[in-house]
């Protein structure tokens, strides 16, 4: 095994150890709650990174898929009385099917065209849910729309952690999200290491050559679209279950770009980029809570500035510093490699 192959699992183990240690050292329910939220973001961001960073598909429907997973879970519980544990995987599979439909419509094109179409799909989904006012069923004396309307769904099921762990249920939910995050990262790592990942990257770096070598761009990009939709949808389901509520807010523009900002800040096309970005941005968000009103403004500046000043993100920055330090020691090579841009 090469040294590079070992780096990612090692980082993974360190991250996992830190995640397990956290609830033993931190008692604050608020902190645990925010870290859980950050991990949800990190899962979605890692899948967008798989899609964009590793495969070059610029989709803006990531939060739409997350929302679809959440809504599917809520609706399966609400209308069919399913147990939430059964609803989540079903919803994840439904999200994959939904993503394949979107992908079949949008992935024939590339680059900015794909971005615009997926954005339009997400926006239509949001508008149709928010403007839904027709009564579908009556709950008591209250009218309920098929999609939950502008309010969304609440109290449709329970993970069972509250009954089992009583006051410590938040930590149990946190553990579930950590587990999902760990599985997602192993899945992402396995894909980008394998032959499919090589095809994805070939299509990203040089679509023409990749296609000339017999890789079908449409099929491969549809495949990565579907693959990344599974954990996105599952995360959406767990999100709905954790908060016991889901509303159209997750489909909003700002949520989508919060996710994208995480990948950009952490490092596009770096396996651990989304996690680094999620930690930094959730922490920055917390720090900016002091200046409350200017949160979104600050976020906008961060996105634009990072994109312009360090396009490879924080991890890219560390990499170039690390490379410079390493090449400085063996004298001769320093001058040669020092000149080449990162």
């Amino acid at each position: 095994m090469k040294r590079e192959d070992l780096a990612h699992p090692l980082v993974g183990l360190v991250v996992l150890a830190a995640a397990i240690a956290l609830p033993f050292y931190v008692d604050s329910r608020y902190v645990i709650g925010q870290v859980t939220l950050g991990l949800f973001y990190a899962i979605v961001a890692s899948q967008w990174n798989l899609l964009f960073g590793f495969s070059g598909v610029f989709s803006l429907a990531q939060m739409a898929l997350f929302g679809f997973g959440g809504y599917a879970t809520a609706m399966l519980c609400f209308y069919f009385g399913l147990n939430i544990w059964a609803a989540m995987p079903l919803a994840a599979v439904a999200t994959v099917l939904f993503s394949l439909v979107i992908g079949a419509a949008c992935l024939r094109l590339s680059g900015a065209y794909t971005a615009l179409l997926t954005l339009a799909v997400a926006q239509v989904m949001y508008l149709l849910i928010v403007t839904d006012t027709d009564c579908f069923v009556m709950v008591g004396t209250q009218c309920r729309q098929l999609t939950g309307g502008a309010v969304g769904f609440a109290r449709f099921g329970d993970l069972g952690t509250r009954a089992m762990f009583k006051a410590k249920f938040l930590v149990a939910n946190y553990a579930l999200v950590v587990a999902l995050f760990a599985i997602t990262m192993v899945f992402t790592w396995a894909i980008i290491r394998g032959p499919i990942g090589l095809a994805f990257r070939a299509l990203r770096d040089n679509p023409g050559c990749a296609m000339a070598r017999g890789i079908s761009r449409f099929q491969m990009q549809l495949l990565v679209f579907g693959l990344s939709a599974f954990f996105t949808g599952l995360a959406g389901g767990l999100y709905a279950a954790h908060f016991n509520a889901i509303g159209p807010g997750v489909l909003s523009f700002s949520q989508l770009f919060f996710i994208i900002a995480m990948v950009v800040v952490g490092g596009i096309g770096r396996l651990w980029g989304p996690l680094v970005g999620a930690i930094v941005l959730v922490a920055a968000d917390e720090a900016m809570r002091e200046i409350g009103e200017f949160r979104s403004l600050g976020l906008g500046i961060i996105i634009a500035a990072v994109m312009v000043l360090m396009p490879n993100g924080l991890i890219g920055l560390f990499e170039s510093i690390w490379n410079r330090l390493r090449t400085r020691n063996p004298g001769m090579t320093a001058e040669m490699s020092g000149e080449t841009p990162a």
Binding site: F58, L116, L117, A120, V124, F257, I260, I303, M307, P311
Partner: protein
């Protein structure tokens, strides 16, 4: 058949607005290959600039419109100097996607700045005219007429600028082939700057027009921008005449669907048309299929 009148009035009015928004977007895309996600925010800024000039400073209408144009142009120039130019120098191969993310950051910043300065409540745009002409059976509001006429005038002026002036010829040359233009002595970077200023000015006026039939709000430009994106895509990104024809056509279809099936189905119907068109013609209705050398 009494719906034809209102559908046409509303369809042609929104069509003119979409066409104007699309024109600015398409201009930038066609020459820089840059999808400006902050274009909608430029509309918003234009609308608010006119509001400030007219109702807070009490300036006359032409000056207020001029203020909107100036603000749009200045912000357009700033976007180029601070964001687009450094990005295109730094990583030209990933420019197409990175610029979208970066300009979205700009949009988020500016939109929130507007929200902080003016508050979230909708404001009335003072530059609107009441009353209507009665055209045997249905009413044609003056405001709609003004919008359509000024939009067409602006598009005409832009077309004249692009075809008849030296600067316009430089813009078209750069759009067709930046390298060849550079070799012929066209200062490409300055042309790009001019394009963004022009697009920002058009967006500023467009914002005034949009806010004159709706209301001023920080998210004013978001909806026209998303529609303009769609028009651009259907027409083939970067194709100006095609974008204008498509804008009018799709706006009338949208108005028809909204009248027949309810307002909430207008946008989904548009999207369905777009996807069907693109499956048949991936380069857009008027777009040429690009031959890319590897």
């Amino acid at each position: 058949m009494e719906i034809i009148g209102p559908v046409l009035v509303s369809g042609i009015t929104t069509g003119a607005l979409y066409a104007l928004a699309t024109l600015g977007l398409s201009l930038v895309w066609g020459s820089l290959g840059m999808l400006n996600m902050a274009h909608g925010t430029l509309l918003t800024l234009g609308g608010y600039a006119a509001f400030t000039a007219a109702s807070q400073l009490g300036l006359p209408v032409p000056l207020a419109v001029l203020a909107a144009t100036a603000v749009g142009g200045v912000i357009g120039a700033l976007i180029f100097v601070l964001v687009a130019y450094p990005l295109s120098r730094r990583s030209p191969e990933t420019f197409e996607t990175t610029i979208m993310i970066a300009t979205f950051g700009v949009a988020l910043t500016l939109e929130n700045a507007v929200l902080r300065l003016y508050g979230g409540q909708p404001l009335g745009q003072p530059l609107s005219v009441g009353g209507a002409i009665n055209l045997g059976g249905f009413a044609l509001p003056w405001q709609n007429l003004i919008i359509v006429v000024s939009a067409i005038a602006l598009m005409g002026a832009t077309a004249l600028f692009l075809t008849r002036t030296k600067a316009g010829r430089a813009i078209r040359a750069t759009a067709q082939n930046p390298d060849a233009a550079k070799l012929m002595g066209v200062p490409v970077a300055r042309v790009y700057l001019q394009v963004l200023i022009l697009s920002g000015m058009l967006a500023g006026v467009c914002g005034v027009l949009v806010s004159s039939i709706t209301q001023l709000s920080p998210s004013l430009g978001a909806d026209p921008m998303l529609k303009a994106f769609i028009m651009c895509v259907v027409a083939g990104l970067g194709n100006l005449p095609g974008a204008i024809i498509t804008s009018f056509g799709l706006a009338i279809v949208e108005a028809l669907v909204q009248f027949l099936a309810g307002a909430r189905w207008g946008f989904p119907a548009l999207l369905a048309i777009v996807i069907l068109v693109l499956i048949r013609r991936p380069g857009g209705l008027f777009g040429r299929v690009e031959v890319r050398r590897l």
